[in-house]
Structures are given as C-alpha cells and as structure tokens.
C-alpha cells in the first residue's frame, strides 16, 4: 500500500462514509496495521475522520503465518500419501 493521492483519499473517504451512513458493512484487506494507515493520507484531517469511523466500528483480524500461495503454484501436485511400489 502506497501513499494516497488527494483524489484517491477523497474517493476512499466518499466510499467509506457512504457505507457508514447507509449502515452497511465493509470488509477490507491490508498489509498494514490499521493505525499505520494514518500516514498514507495527504490530509491528516481526512485520515482522522475516516479512520476513526472505520477503526472504531470494526472487527480487526490479524492474520499471520507463512504464505499459502506456494501451495497453489502451477504444476505442483497435491501432496499424496506415499505408496510403496517396489
């Protein structure tokens, strides 16, 4: 996740506040901890207003562990039980 341009920040602000006003849920995914999102916004006021709303009305799930993607690499066969053919 890179720093947002003012336009991107405004669009995100609009999206999140509209969902909040309509009482609708959002599911987001991010590589950063929610508190680390603040410095990504060019305008700290927008960041504060938006993130305060989002972070305080949400369930935060920290997912940790090794990447699962190597298991899905093309050409990789699913692990099979060893059979003795000798």
């Amino acid at each position: 996740m890179r720093e947002l341009t003012p336009q991107q920040a405004d669009d995100l602000y609009e999206l999140i506040s509209e969902r909040a006003q309509a009482g609708r849920s959002l599911i987001t995914t991010s590589n950063r901890n929610p508190p680390d999102w603040y410095p990504l916004f060019p305008n700290p006021v927008v960041a504060e207003s938006l993130l305060d709303r989002l972070i305080n009305t949400s369930h935060q799930v920290f997912m940790n562990g090794p990447s699962y993607r190597p298991n899905k690499r093309p050409g990789r066969v699913a692990p099979q039980p060893k059979t003795s053919t000798m």
């Binding site: 995914t29 949400s58 799930v61 940790n64 562990g65």
Partner: protein, 134 residues
C-alpha cells in the same frame, strides 16, 4: 394432455410460476397416488416455487458480487498456520457484524489468505440473502 392441463400450463407460465410448472407432473402423480391431499398438494407446489426463486436469487447475487474466484470458508485451510486466529474467524462467520453494520478489517502479511477470507465472508453473506460487491 387434456385441455385443462394445457390451460393450467399456460396460466402458470403467465404468472411466471415456472418452479411450479417444473414439478407439477411429479406432484400430480404423488397426489393421484394418494400421498398428498388438496392443501398438501398446493403447499408443496408453492414450496417448489419458493425454492426455485431462492436459488435464482442467490445465483444472481453471486454473479453481481463479481468475486475473483468463488471461495468459501469450508475451503479455507485453517491448518496452514497455527497463528491464524481460527476462533475469531469462525465467530465472524456467524455474521453478527453484518446485522449491526460493523466492518471487518483483515490485516497481515501477504499470502496468508486475507482476500480468500474476505470473499468467503462475502459468500456467506450472500447465502444469508445479502447483496455483496467485491
């Protein structure tokens, strides 16, 4: 087919009750075999129609969600890492946050399944009748 049958088929089609139309012959056989009374017959036909509409509605909502791939919580490998908060994830699967309009923020390293889980929760919400957009 009798004239009455043809009329009934036309009526069901006009009323867009194709769920009833599909099962009508089978249900009629059941009724004639004495398995279904008048009220039962009507009730099972209505239920067939409701089932068809629910299936159609769910298929439509799944299409509109534009998921990258259809992932489900059943297909989520909780054993991939002991560090995954399995209990919290299973608790979120009850979707209580959806009724109250709360959000879910999934954060963590790459490749651990954040997007998979996001889509799986979306899939659950659709099964519960919600409109979802990925």
């Amino acid at each position: 087919m009798t004239v009455l049958d043809v009329t009934l088929h036309t009526s069901l089609r006009t009323l867009k009750l194709s769920g009833m139309l599909e099962t009508l012959d089978a249900r009629l056989l059941q009724a004639q075999a004495g398995e279904l009374g008048h009220i039962d017959f009507l009730q099972v036909l209505c239920q067939d129609e409701i089932t068809r509409r629910e299936n159609m509605s769910m298929a439509r909502r799944l299409r509109r969600a534009h998921f990258d791939e259809q992932t489900t919580l059943e297909g989520f490998d909780f054993t991939a890492s002991p560090k995954l908060p399995a209990a919290q994830i299973r608790d979120l699967a009850a979707l209580r946050w959806l009724q109250t309009g709360e959000s879910v923020l999934l954060h963590g390293a790459v490749g651990v399944g954040k997007t998979h889980l996001a889509q799986a929760l979306g899939h659950l919400a659709i099964r519960q009748g919600a409109e979802v957009r990925f």
